[in-house]
Amino acid sequence: MAAPFDLKNDGVVVIIGSGAGGGTLGNELAQKGIDVVILEAGGRYEYDDFINDEWDSFAQLAWKDMRTTSGDWRVAKDFPNLPAWIVKAVGGTTTHWAGASLRLQEHEFKTLTTYGKIEGANLLDWPVTLAELEPYYTKAEDRMGVTRTNDIPGLPGNNNFKVLKAGADKLGYKECHTGRMAINSQPRDDRNSCQQTGFCFQGCKWGAKWSTLYTEIPKGEATGHLEVRPNAMVLKINHDASGKVTGVVYADKDGKLHEQKARIVAVAGNSIESPRLLLNSESSKFPHGLANSSGQVGRNYMRHTTGSVYAIFDKPVHMYRGTTMAGIVRDEARNDTSRGFVGGYELETLSLGLPFMAAFLNPGGWGRSFTTALDHYDHMAGLWIVGEDMPRAENRVTLHASEKDAHGMPVANVHFDDHPNDIAMRNHAYRQGTAIYDAVGATRVFPTPPYPSTHNLGTNRMSEKPEDGVVDKHGQTHDIKNLFISDGSQFTTGGAENPTLTIVTLAIRQADHIAKQMAAKAI
């Protein structure tokens, strides 16, 4: 039967979310001839619809439904109802992401073994190794067209990169280049090459940056085996008496409820929405939510140790011109405890336009100290810190006791306390970022606090043993055989690398596993 599929069709795989995980999984399964319905909470905007304007684009794409926050992280104070800057639209956060595509390092799959037990951290080794994932990483890099892989040349360096590179060279850093980016440096896969437009976060109007919106999803749709249903907000996953999931309840754009039957359900709603949905699907059989016999659903929320360093120079930079994140220093990504912390971090170029710079440079800041920084906006360079943060059991997504969304579903509360390791790493990164810019003559430097989280990870983590986590090494929940997790919430630990490439890698691998199990009638 060809798409679109009937609500009563219980042979379909239902995927919740159309981003890096859901969009990729949907296409992979469709290519194998498996019928898939992707339910996406947001609307569908093609790349012609994207807007080169920060606030207008935010209004178009961002997930703005209310969330609450708690804990000692600064985001809870600065943006109490916006813990994350992620997307509610077809393509998910792959419309907004910057394109940095790095493999996790070998030791980052074995953090408990490598770092040992750390007080206040819930470290665990992944049940999968880098070696097992390598063939899938290779496939993902090819699919996404990652520069510096598959003989694809690197992107040219923009002004912001040139400042970073000059400083990194002076400091003696060895690995500084324009990154491994899922942004076409030359036309590829029927998509344009990068035109250095500078609005990567607002959706690439050239289609040069990989997004499931205009790669995986239309390819899947072309098979006749994939239907993407936008404006379909899933509220609950249903199950039968045996505990197998049977379908999902979603609200359409008018708030009307429907049940889509399913043979298999894969949850890929990002690390805040995915545990929210599992927790909200509690029943008499599963009183603590679906797939939560371990009690780990929603726990171990990670967001990377981040922060930015912006610097002012006595001459112009125009950092906002060109690819936002095509610049990286990788030397600090190693695990070297002599620096006073475990794990490592990447330094990547970053730029915001004037409206967002005003909102994010020093949230809550005002007066001349603040405004004289903006006065030199065109003389600024900037970088972003992406480091491994510690999973903590109490850093978690929970259902709010009283606040509900438009559909009556409890909103998510995101609790986060920085671990001392996170703070030590961030301070080290602030110092190194400052040193890079000082080396090329910065006149003033700003250690800028973390933005609302873009890398949300770990809330349905993978584990060897069912009591330690929610899913196994294929993202299959330990408790329910036909329920899968397909997004970054599977991550056992976060690594120092931007997570999208690994999410896509896991989705490609998961599709093989699902197809095999379906063929064997195991699910």
Partner: protein, 176 residues
């Protein structure tokens, strides 16, 4: 309805000066705040025009950019008049907030304090209040999201229609 209008506001400069000004720059006339030097005016519907004039000064003191004309600050705060018209609580928040500022400032009121440092000292004392937070939180968007002021900061805005920067200086830095 709040309107910012360009052109001569219908009063002679001499007449405006006679009516007395707020600082030397802005003049209250009827229900409007008028900038005689720069030929624009801001009419208020709900808030007192004196309140609006103080809001404009407050906006400049929160985000002071000496290269920006008052007009940008006036545009940034004008939505408070509309909101006050729809929401009595908002009107009270603003009018009471400004009255409090004037009281703290002493005899000449907030705008009577000649030095920015003096006004900032008053603002520091109310920094945690809902009034100040509402003002600052609104301003950070309503001021910096005005496309007309972006060139003042060297920000070029939308670039897709111009073909991006691939031929327009994405890598033109020369001083390194």
């Amino acid at each position: 309805m709040v309107t910012i209008y360009e052109g001569r506001p219908g009063l002679s400069r001499r007449e405006l000066l006679k009516r007395g000004g707020i600082g030397a720059l802005l003049v209250i006339a009827g229900n409007a705040v008028i900038s005689p030097e720069n030929a624009w005016g801001l009419e208020t519907a709900t808030l007192r025009p004196e309140t609006m004039a103080t809001l404009i000064q407050l906006a400049r003191d929160i985000y002071p950019h000496d290269q920006l004309a008052d007009k940008f600050y006036a545009i940034a705060v004008k939505s408070h008049d509309e909101q006050a018209g729809k929401d009595a609580k908002h009107k009270e928040l603003i009018e009471a907030g400004i009255a409090d500022l004037d009281k703290r400032a002493g005899e000449g009121g907030y705008c009577g304090l000649g030095w920015e440092e003096e006004r900032v000292a008053v603002l520091k004392a109310i920094e945690a209040t809902p009034f100040f937070q509402a003002m600052r939180g609104g301003l950070v968007v309503s001021l910096y999201n005005q496309k007309e002021l972006w060139p003042v900061f060297g920000y070029e805005g939308e670039s897709y229609s111009k073909g991006g920067y691939i031929s327009r200086g994405f890598d033109d830095i020369e001083w390194l």
